[in-house]
């Protein structure tokens, strides 16, 4: 049977991808962040997922305002890096896992999550930067990728509670899949940041570190947090953090933090990363 081997939460700031693409990770500005990422890279290299479900948001790349689906699951055999306005990133084409992805789509919809199915979807930095953070610059990504795209740009984004429940349904779907594979789920975006308006540049380290802590210590506090609290405390774009709750929902009720790290700034954001695993001892 398939199993969720871990959850990873991470920022997906485009500048982090650019730092990797242009070989700048050892510069003074970036080195502390990449030093903080290294233990996660080592951990993932050792534990080798077969598939990564990457929960992310599109940034006016695959979707415009013409069509705004709340949850979109990519079932294609491959996903091309998108041209976001400056040419596509020079990263590998992500190989999908249509068999598992279709199984997820069927299971989720029958479980009353009316997700949108995408047979053709380019992936932008929201999906590719987390892969670069975990895997650096390989010729091919070392696992299959199933993109799960969430609308967090047009108000309202799905609630934290809905996201958490979707994560629980994803776990159920994965555990009912008949192949013996290891699935990592990545919740991406955030952490605190505001890109727009007179309040641009807002970062709330206290909010972010409490968020990281409560993914294991008090997930219900995060599940119940209203959008306005994210916007006010973590910046208008901080609401992306609801996507981390899909990842959290896919883990068992008691999950333990294997590693976490936080750094300010990555471009205009507070950047966090966390690895969570089911707490086998708590069962």
């Amino acid at each position: 049977m398939a199993k969720i081997m871990c959850g990873v939460g991470t920022s997906h700031v485009p500048a982090i991808g650019a730092a990797i693409d242009h070989g700048r990770t050892q510069e003074d500005y970036w080195k502390p962040l990449f030093d903080g990422y290294q233990p996660v890279r080592d951990w993932i290299e050792e534990h080798k997922p077969d598939v990564a479900i990457v929960v992310y948001n599109d940034h006016a790349s695959a979707f415009s305002l013409e069509l705004i689906p709340t949850f979109t699951l990519g079932v294609a055999a491959e996903f091309q890096p998108a041209d976001e306005g400056y040419g596509p990133r020079g990263v590998p084409v992500a190989k999908g896992d249509p068999d598992l992805a279709w199984h997820l789509a069927e299971s989720l919809i029958l479980d009353e999550f009316d997700i949108t199915i995408a047979n053709n979807m380019d992936i932008d930095h929201g999906c590719t930067v987390p892969l670069s953070i975990l895997f650096d610059q390989p010729q091919e990504w070392p696992c299959n990728v199933i993109p799960l795209c969430v609308n967090v740009i047009q108000y309202p984004a799905p609630t934290g509670k809905r996201c958490f429940k979707l994560g629980q349904a994803i776990r159920k779907a994965v555990e009912s899949y008949d192949k013996d594979i290891k699935v990592a789920i990545l919740g991406t975006g955030g952490m605190s940041h505001q890109l727009q308006g007179e309040r641009a540049g807002l970062v709330n380290a206290e909010f972010d570190t409490a968020f990281l802590r409560d993914l294991s210590e008090d997930p219900q506090r995060l599940v119940n947090m209203p959008h306005v609290e994210y916007m006010r405390e973590a910046g208008s774009e901080g609401v992306e953090l609801v996507m981390w709750l899909i990842m959290r929902g896919a883990l068992s009720e008691k999950a333990k933090e294997t590693y976490s790290f936080y750094h300010v700034p990555a471009s205009n954001s507070g950047a966090g990363i966390i690895v969570l695993e089911d707490d086998e001892e708590a069962k």
């Binding site: 006016a60 415009s64 305002l65 306005g85 740009i153 309040r199 641009a200 807002l202 300010v264």
Partner: protein
Amino acid sequence: MSREYDDIPGTYVMDSKHCRAGYHLNMFCMSLNNKANRDAFRDDEAAYLEAFPMTEAQKQSVLERDWLGMLRLGGNIYYTFKLAVFDGHSMQYVGGKMSNISEEQFRQMMVSGGRSIEGNRSKKEQARG
């Protein structure tokens, strides 16, 4: 309808009202994802904008690169940032323009921990001083 988030200072939430006002402005920005469109826009900005049924004020804000103005007219930063990238600008440049400081000052603010949440939570709180 008033919303709780209307009380957050310096923030333009992409809600229904905003989306309706800024639809064509944002769709113009989105068109810059395509290289042929980028070339056409570079060739003659004003002529290119004619293809989009935007208001005159929106067109003017694009031509003048009035970053805050675009937001006030329905623009969304993920869309308008495509125009900034087209110009070769960074997020720090645009952030500085919207908050009335230089790119370097903005960059320094970020390196020093970002804009503080203290005093920036609420318009009501700010009015009380």
